[in-house]
Each structure stands twice: as C-alpha cells, then as structure tokens.
Subunit: 338 residues, 2 copies
C-alpha cells in the first residue's frame, strides 16, 4: 500500500513528519510504502536507517503556509506538497494521503483534484473523540461552515460507515448535536435535520445529544455543522490544557500537593494519553474520491504515525466503496474507488 | 432591595432554592428582602430561623416543568412562579428576579411581561467563564438560536457594559468566537459580524477568538450566537466531569495514585471551585426591562446564593440604565429602568 505523506505539513514540518511516517512503516513492516512529498534536501537527511524500499521521495518545490487562503493557494501553487500528494492519488500512484498542513487547502484541493464520491454533496472531516465508552466519531469538524439538513444526513451516513469499519461498531448509534433532548429544540438547521435523520432507514438515529451525552458515550456518531464542530473541537483541546494549568498552579502552592502530584504522575500520564489527539491521529475527509487524512497542525511524531495507520486501515477496509454503496445501493461502481 | 426568587425552580426546587436564598440574605444582612414565590406550604417549613422581616412568601399555584414548551407554558400557566416573579418586577414590587427553572420560559416570559430595553433587538444570556486571568463574559449562551450580525454587535455592547459594572473591567476587550484568527474565517454570520464589530466605536474589538484564547483570557467579552454558546457551555461543563471520571478511574488502579490523590485533595478542591458554575452563580438575561438572573437547573444552594448576589450587584450598579445609555446616547430615559 502506497501512502503519500505531505512532509512539509504541520507547524514543525519534515523534522516531525518524516520520523513519524517512518515509525508507521516500521509498525507495519513491509506493508506500507511511504511517498514523502516536499523538499528533497530537507527530507533525505531525516531518513536514517530505514529500509530504502519502504520510502520514496517525491520532490515538491512549493509549500502552502498554515494561514494562506486555501482555495487560492491550492490553485496558484501547482507544485505544493499538498497538491502533489492529491495528484498522486488521482493518478493511481498512491492509495491514500496524509497531511498536517493547511486544512482548508487539503479540503479545497481534494474537491478540486479528486472530486466527491458519487451521491455525496459535501465531504466532512471526521474525528475520533474519547469518551467513557469506546469513543465517538464526530463530524463535521471544519470542512463546511454552512450546512443544510441534507448535508447533516449525509454526514450521519458517512460517519456510520466510518464507525463500522474503523471502530468496529456493528450498528452505530447516531446523535445530533443540539442544545436539548426534545425534537423541537435548537436552530432551524438542527430541527429540520432531526426530522430527516429520524426517517432515514440507513441511520440508527438516537436523537439529540449534548456535551454530557457525547462524553458519556450515548452515541457512536455525533453529527454537527462544521462551524460548531470546529468550535467544540478547539474548546475541548483547550480545556485540557487549561485544567492542567490550574492543577499546576495549585501544586506550586503546597508541599503536600507537590508530593501527591509526584505519586500521581503515571495516573496523569494515562489520562493524558486517553485524551491526546495524538493517540487518535488523523481525521479522514470523508466523501471524496480517495483516502485523505487530515492531521492536527501541532501533530507530534506519534500523531503522524497514527494518522498514517488510520489511512492504512481506511484503505484496507475499502471505506470509500462502503460509503458509495450507502448512497448508490445496488448500482455497480461506475467510479473506481481506491 | 427586593429580590423575587422562583422557589420552585431548578431540578430540586424549594429544598435547595430556599436555603440558598436565605444564605444570600445573611451575606448582606438587612440589605435584601427576599420574595419567595411558589407553593407556600412547601416554602414555609424551610425558612428556619431567618429574620421574618427579610422574607416574604408570594403564593403561586402553578409550576413550569423543565421540559415544557416555554412560550406555551408561560402563556397558559398564568400563576406560575416564573410568571408571578416577572409580574412583580413589572409592577415595581421587585427590583430583580432569580430563577433556576425552565430557561426558555424565563426568556419568553421576560420578553412578554417586561419587554426589551429601548434600542435592544434581542436579549442575551450572559455567563461568567473562568479563565487564566480574571474571567470572561460569554454571551449569548442560549436565548437566541438564530442570530443576525446586528444581534451579535448588540451582545458585544451589552456584554461590555456587564464586564465593566459587574467585573470592574475598565475597557473590556471584545472577541468574536470563531474558528480562526483571520477576518475571512467562519460562517456568514461571523464574517459579517466581524466587519460591524470592527467599526462600532462603542466596542473595543480585538478580533476573532478560539477556545484557547478564551481560556488564556485574550478577551473580556466573548460574543457568539446562542446555539453555539449553549453547545460550548454544556461541553465545558461536561468535560470537567469527564476528566474527573478519567482521573478517578486511574486512581482506582494504583496504590501510589491513591495516596497521591489524598495528598492532592485540597488542590483538586481549589481547582474545582475555580471552575464550578456555582461560584459564578447566575447568568443575567441582558436586554430586558428588569434584572433577570438565570441559574443552572442543577444549581446547588451555593449557586442560588451567588445568583442572588449577582442580581443585587446588577441592581446596585444600575446595569440596565447603563445598557440603555449605550443604545440611546444623550436621550433622557423615557422608560424607567429598575
């Protein structure tokens, strides 16, 4: 399996991405072929002792910065690492791509270069969230800032397929992110979506969910528009570090607490690991013709490794074919899905 | 000062509300007159040894349940504790009201019974959030599920007045809750609002803020639509308890961690207190003709006490007069603001 990796992506670039990618290849020895895309002179020195047959470098001269206007950047920088990775998928030279770069550019580039799966109106970025049970798939967390009820229904279907084939949930329960339990609650978008979700036979809809329900594990798939999803994603990430700040503040004040903190260090470490987005690695952009995995801009080496393993799992599970089957039941696949 | 208290409100009703109210009266001896509204036979036995001149009971035969459709309930139950409390304000018999009951009913009832302050299109529920600095005012967190850019500008103005007179921030920095720093980020609502906020001389606008900025204290006032605000409010509350669950889980596993947790107990307690909504108490419904404070349905005795003190502070600060001045500069007040 050939995985195109945007080596220039993320806040730290090749220095973190390349070792992370090599870790993934080592975790599946001989199974993955990494196609590292970016400035060859920066990538090559980072390869170390990796088996040369596991790695290929594809030189790309340009890089899309984190704050560039996405659509414009993807159009004007023809030789960007993101653009090249997507073209490799389109040309059948890669089975998947992973990028920790400019998310908007990955989304815009995927739409432009790969296009949407047959029957899908809008792709969605789909994340795995920790909760008290086996975790939940939350989507969309940022591909669409304005959504229609029909979009949310499609997110529910794609999220269910992802939960089934990635997380092994037989019949994923779908919740609609809202501000109350009752059907009548929320804004126009969620109220209309509620009616559609209830009726769709492809969806095992369990009703509205709020923050508490998400963490309790009341749903395996949580659907929301990409603006709200992105806001809560960033809030959740920040609250963890805010709490750590408060706890450290208290520890500084007392000797007892300092001793306690030392004893609790491994416990804190485990909690942190259960929460860390690095453990979950990558968020697939569901609904495009190709396996595209988006990683956090602040991805650690471990996060990159895990994102590549998420990509491999999606390719092995034939995720996109299963999504297309939901939208085009009984129709032989006109479009080849990789 | 006379404070009408919805004694039937909240998940636990008079059992928690009445002692909480009495605690507030004791915290400001002789200053507050509590008007406890609800079923007299349930309220009277809870009064204890409180000075009889500090308390009055106004019997109300009906109660609006937490899950009743708000507008309908407030119209049909003429003798509900919420309805009676609001009428007392309108008739000049109370200076403020506090309710931990059905939030929608308090909002609908306030609009119906009190009406909006001159110049205000939509009232907003305004909460105090803990952060690394002195805390932030976040609004709207639930009064409006659909908002216009003009609404968000008005929330910014009202929130700034609240931050000035309640939290003592001279020139409150206003942030717009969004999914990126750049002006071009976000959905139509926030992009249009950004342009208006920048131009308004009444607002000290510091640009877009995301979760991290809110917790770092980058803004004193954070503006968002009521759907997004309510979603993040509930997420934040739930994350705290989710984290506590994870930590307890780890503690159960190891003797060292158990000992550490014992030593850290006071530190955890302090952190919890800094986060607990009970400490912040009540969320004012800004923009209506009267001081209306909304408390969490799960309010503790301490939360009720603090909500009543928030009400008293708003009355003393003449908060509503200051809000009206922002919307009607130089015009003598045709409408008496209590």
């Amino acid at each position: 399996m050939r995985i195109a990796v945007d080596a220039m992506g993320g806040d730290t670039g090749p220095r973190v991405v390349v070792p992370g990618a090599i870790d993934a290849a080592k975790a599946r020895p001989g199974e993955l072929k990494l196609i590292l895309i970016g400035r060859e002179e920066e990538i090559r020195p980072l390869l170390g002792d990796v088996d040369p047959s596991w790695v290929e470098i594809v030189h790309a001269t340009e890089n899309i910065e984190m704050n560039e206007p996405p659509a414009q950047a993807i159009r004007s920088k023809k030789d960007s690492s993101i653009g090249v990775a997507l073209r490799l998928i389109r040309e059948g030279r890669a089975d998947a791509m992973v990028s920790a770069g400019n998310t908007g550019a990955v989304v815009a580039g995927s739409l432009l270069t790969l296009g949407r799966l047959h029957g899908v109106s809008r792709p969605a970025i789909s994340t795995l969230w920790p909760n008290k049970q086996r975790g939940a798939v939350v989507l969309d967390v940022g591909a669409n800032h304005e959504c229609t009820p029909k979009n949310l229904v499609q997110f529910a279907i794609m999220g269910s397929v992802f939960a089934r084939y990635h997380a092994g949930v037989e019949r994923p329960r779908v919740g609609l992110l809202n501000i109350g339990e009752e059907k009548s609650k929320g804004n126009d978008l969620v109220r209309e979506s509620h009616g559609l979700l209830e009726k769709d036979p492809r969806i095992h809809f369990v009703g509205n969910v709020e923050g508490r329900d998400v963490f309790d594990g009341a749903a395996d798939v949580v659907v929301c528009d990409g603006f709200v999803g992105n806001v809560i994603l960033k809030f959740s990430e920040s609250i963890y570090s805010f709490l750590a700040h408060l706890v450290k503040d208290e520890i500084r004040r007392g000797v007892m607490a300092k001793a306690g903190a030392l004893l609790m260090k491994p416990a804190f470490g485990s909690v942190r690991a259960r929460l860390d987005y690095a453990e979950y690695g990558g968020a697939p952009l569901l609904g495009v013709k190709g396996v595209v995995i988006i990683s956090h801009g602040k991805s650690s080496r471990r996060a990159i490794r895990n994102a590549i393993l998420v990509a491999a799992k999606a390719v092995n599970a034939n995720l996109n074919r299963h999504i297309e089957e939901q939208f085009n039941p009984g129709i032989p696949h006109a479009v080849e899905v990789r």
